[in-house]
């Protein structure tokens, strides 16, 4: 890994720079620390910072950009006319990259000499076998076009690596020399270092923004790509979901939205009453020891990973429901996975979510409200129902909306518990599927990202993102307004 070594070298330079810088500063003050503007370590840090940071940034950017550039360059060299009918340039390029990687690995492991790798005669050597022996498996034999391109790819990559090494080291050494020349007792080293640290802090805060931008870009670009291949109205208003990778898929989102909504409704029907009553009891009735015991117990439910709930739905709740409502019992249920299975389990998962949010909300209703009501001779339940809950209503609505957004975005429980069939039905004991479950099923496996069947997952993700984001923003707004009211 030359990039890794390069990074190590840069860091070593920075370490050396630290000590030289510190020594230079001390020397300029004749060893008297009091004459320095900043503490000696700041002079060292200043040199180290300017040596390492810009050089490492160049290194990172280069490492990310170079493959893209090389890829584009090599793709441009492949004669499109020589490709077989229906073969995608992207697929060819991924073969090219694999061959190039394989050759690199073969040289590194000694299976091929550098000379041999550079001059491969496809007629004489079974390249596929050689690459297989070094751990790079190819789907088909290597064609001449691919090999040529791969050699180009290797060549361009090697040139790029050398250029990168030179540039990075020049940046590091240049800035190190410049900073050292500036280092003397007058230099405001601490201020420079602190400015650097502040920039680092700001960049860390920017990662949150970058993440959002990343999410939006990755969804938007692929969604646009999808709608180029598939009609907008068929997606949003289509009532059939029947993807087939052979083509001719029906990709209507309505059955998925319906499944999502139905399961979420059942989940909320379970979680909201239980969670709300639990919160009311914990905040208004429970003695301190009961609260200290019951609250953490309920919150354990929130700490259990969703995969556990998924398994619980698939292997415990589903079969249990089937015994009651299935063929042996009421006969409403065909299989263990159903809307009811997923909804119930998701409801259990959301109980602590609803209860701890509502608990907070109820606790922020001022005590004077309770006093006023008790002072009039109201019982606790009258006070709760007629004063506290109405006062807390906006906050509780916010909490329920947040829980709804959780339910809509939940994946593992529905993947394992709800089934795979997309249908528009009212029977809660039938298997249905959701937006999240279909994102998983369309994107797992080795699908290429060029077909509408895979790309549809991104527009599903977009739909999901927009719905949950809307709910969240609205809910957070309500809760914030509510809190301001009582502050």
């Amino acid at each position: 890994m030359p990039a890794l070594w390069l990074a190590v070298i840069v860091l070593a330079l920075a370490g050396i720079g630290y000590f030289i810088g510190r020594a230079r500063a001390l020397k300029s003050a004749d060893g008297d620390i009091r004459l320095l503007h900043s503490l000696p370590s700041y002079y060292g840090s200043n040199v180290a910072m300017l040596t390492a940071v810009p050089a490492l940034l160049v290194l990172i950017v280069w490492t990310i950009v170079q493959p893209l550039v090389v890829n584009m360059h090599v793709a441009g060299l492949i004669p499109v006319s020589e490709l077989d009918e229906g073969v995608n340039l992207n697929l060819v390029m991924s073969d090219v990259r694999r061959v190039a990687e394989g050759l690199q690995a073969a040289v590194a492991q000694g299976a091929l000499s550098v000379q041999a790798a550079a001059n491969i005669d496809l007629g004489a050597v079974d390249l596929r076998a050689i690459l297989g022996s070094v751990g790079v498996a190819l789907g088909s034999d290597v064609t001449m076009v691919t090999l040529d391109a791969a050699q180009q790819y290797r060549g361009a990559t090697a040139t790029g690596q050398i250029a990168m090494t030179v540039v990075v080291l020049m940046v590091a050494l240049g800035l190190m020399g410049y900073t050292l020349s500036k280092t003397n007792k007058e230099l405001r080293a601490r201020n420079i270092v602190e400015r650097g640290v502040k920039i680092a802090l700001i960049s860390a805060a920017m990662i949150a923004i970058l993440t959002t931008i990343g999410i939006i870009f990755s969804l938007v670009f692929n969604t646009i790509e999808f709608f180029r291949m598939y009609s907008f109205s068929d997606f949003f208003f289509g009532t059939t979901w029947a993807p087939s990778f052979g083509g001719g898929s029906a990709l209507g989102v309505l059955p998925l939205l319906w499944g999502t909504l139905y399961i979420s409704l059942i989940a909320l029907a379970v979680a909201v009453p239980i969670g709300l009553f639990a919160a009311v009891y914990l905040s208004e009735y429970a003695s301190r020891p009961v609260r200290a015991f019951a609250k953490p117990l309920l919150e354990i439910l929130a700490g259990i990973p969703t995969i556990v709930y998924g398994l619980f739905a698939l292997l415990t709740v589903g079969p249990l429901l089937q015994r009651v409502f299935g063929d042996g019992g009421l006969g409403w249920m065909d299989a263990a996975s159903s809307v009811m299975t997923a909804g119930l389990v998701m409801g259990i998962m959301l109980i602590p979510f609803v209860s701890s949010l509502s608990d907070d909300i109820i606790n922020s209703v001022p005590q004077t409200m309770r006093d006023g009501s008790y002072g009039l001779g109201a019982t606790r339940s009258e006070t709760i129902r007629q004063v506290i809950l109405p006062a807390a209503l906006p906050g509780i609505v916010g909490a329920i909306l947040l829980a709804a957004s959780r339910a809509i975005g939940e994946t593992m429980i529905v993947v394992l518990g709800a089934g795979a069939a997309a249908r528009l039905s009212l029977n809660p004991f039938e298997a249905m599927t959701t937006v999240t479950a279909k994102i998983v099923s369309q994107l797992t496996g080795d699908a290429d990202f060029a077909s509408p069947e895979a790309l549809v997952a991104f527009s599903l993700g977009m739909t999901l993102f927009v719905i949950t984001l809307g709910l969240n923003i609205f809910a957070l707004y309500i809760v914030r307004k509510y809190r301001e009211q009582y502050e």
């Binding site: 860390a204 990755s218 309920l298 709930y309 019982t379 993947v415 984001l469």
Partner: protein
């Protein structure tokens, strides 16, 4: 104030406080009902928790026991070393197919030696009792020590998952009629082998340390390798999200001016915390794999995705701990001439550290149990049969992760894998439990009230 009149005739007739009126009784009854519903809700919640835990433990505990067979195998030189020169290269050429008949013969002879009466008379009749992995175990021993050839060595070999399931009660006599992997005679034999001490259950270390196995070898599958995958992912998450999260929080809490820009970052963070995890999976897939060409299924990519997912949690809890440090501390430092940066890094940050670590551990625990985004970046469907060889492979080579492995097992057709899935959950939950306990201890021990 002429309107201040309360008509005296409306004052209710004087009633004794010592007798409850009918209305009060009714109101108190409804009070009791309401309270009972509250208790009921909590009881129901705790009941669900208990059902969940009981179902995890009762289903998963079986994975920690595995049936082994003590089989004396005659390592026939005629089969294993045809040249008779004990040349390791030649011996290595004998594939597992060469060993399978020897093991089956060994079991047959063990059955005969123990005078067990069974309608099964040939070695092939018994092949369903032994795990398909057995031949590989014997072969590896022989390859590493060719001198064993010619001797009769007793190996402790895995029984097949059907036999194991039968002894654990998962496979029943009624259920095997359609099963081509086992028959009733073989189950009878199993019972007798147990009586004779040839088959016995033992603690299943291989489950904790081992790797995943192919669909047909449930008895061999273990969670160890995916545990390593999770470990490497958590290293990435810890190494990135702690410094970035702390840096971002310090900026927002201590340095950021109160303006629109800061507002946007804050709203953005609280919304990111509520974005469904699967969306982070899509982000990882298109940015890290599609765009940056990082390897699929690599713990590094998983770690990056989980980092982005955990960051908001860590930022929110870190900011809360920074906020809890009283301003007087900052003023004191600034008052003696420290720069703002020094006051934060020398005084505020160390005081907030316990809170930050607690938040980080809880964030890590969340990340450890997260599954959905891992599905999209290819950490399932991959059978992690070998643990990573070195540190770089640990980050870059394809692997699975605990929750993804559990999901993978849950999707497989053989019910023997369900037991493994539940067993994996026990380990996962133990990890989460200990992380939370550490967080609680940290909080108890270092919590400071101002």
């Amino acid at each position: 104030m002429t309107d201040a009149t309360v008509s005296p005739e409306k004052t209710p007739k004087r009633s004794s406080l010592h007798t409850a009126s009918d209305r009060t009784k009714k109101r108190n009854a409804s009070e009791t009902r309401f309270k009972a519903m509250g208790i009921g809700a909590i009881a129901l919640g705790i009941f669900f928790l208990i059902v969940l835990l009981v179902s995890i433990i009762s289903n998963g505990i079986g994975a920690y026991q595995q049936t082994y067979l003590q089989v004396p195998v005659y390592l026939d030189p005629a089969k294993l070393d045809k040249n008779g020169n004990r040349d390791p290269a030649d011996i290595a050429k004998v594939s597992t197919f060469g060993y399978t008949p020897l093991i089956q013969a060994g079991l047959l002879s063990a059955v005969q030696d123990a005078n067990i009466d069974t309608p099964l008379q040939t070695a092939r009749d018994m092949k369903n009792l032994i795990s398909a992995s057995a031949a590989n175990v014997v072969r590896q021993d022989v390859v590493s020590d060719p001198n064993l050839i010619g001797q009769t060595v007793t190996f402790k070999l895995l029984a097949s998952s059907r036999v194991d399931g039968y002894l654990k009660g998962r496979v029943t006599r009624e259920g095997v009629a359609e099963d081509k992997n086992i028959n009733v005679d073989q189950l009878d034999l199993t019972d007798k082998l147990v009586d004779a001490g040839i088959a016995a259950k033992g603690f299943n270390w291989a489950f904790i340390t081992g790797s995943d196995a192919s669909e047909s070898r449930a008895e061999q599958a273990g969670i160890g390798t995916s545990m390593l995958g999770s470990l490497f992912m958590m290293l990435v998450v810890l190494g990135l999200s702690l410094p970035i999260g702390v840096a971002a929080s310090i900026y927002l809490e201590e340095f950021a001016p109160q303006n629109r820009w800061t507002d946007i970052i804050e709203v953005n963070i609280s919304n990111l915390a509520a974005v469904p995890s699967i969306v982070f999976g899509i982000l990882g897939l298109s940015v890290f794999i599609q765009f940056m060409h990082l390897p699929q299924s690599a713990p590094l990519v998983g770690g990056l995705v989980l980092t982005l997912m955990t960051l908001p949690t860590i930022i929110i809890s870190t900011r809360a701990s920074l906020k809890a440090v009283p301003p007087s501390i900052r003023d004191a430092a600034l008052g003696i001439g420290a720069s703002k940066m020094q006051s934060v890094f020398h005084h505020v940050l160390p005081l907030a550290m316990p809170g930050i670590l607690t938040g980080t551990i809880i964030g890590l625990a969340q990340a450890l149990g997260e599954t959905a985004p891992l599905l999209l970046i290819g950490m399932i469907g991959y059978i992690a049969t070998n643990p990573p060889g070195n540190l770089i492979d640990g980050f870059m080579a394809p692997n699975s992760a605990m929750p993804a492995q559990i999901y993978e097992w849950a999707k497989r057709a053989d019910p023997a894998y369900y037991e493994r899935a539940w067993g994996g959950i026990i380990i996962l939950l133990l990890f989460l439990l200990s992380m939370n306990i550490i967080a609680i201890i940290l909080r108890r021990k270092f919590e400071r009230r101002w």
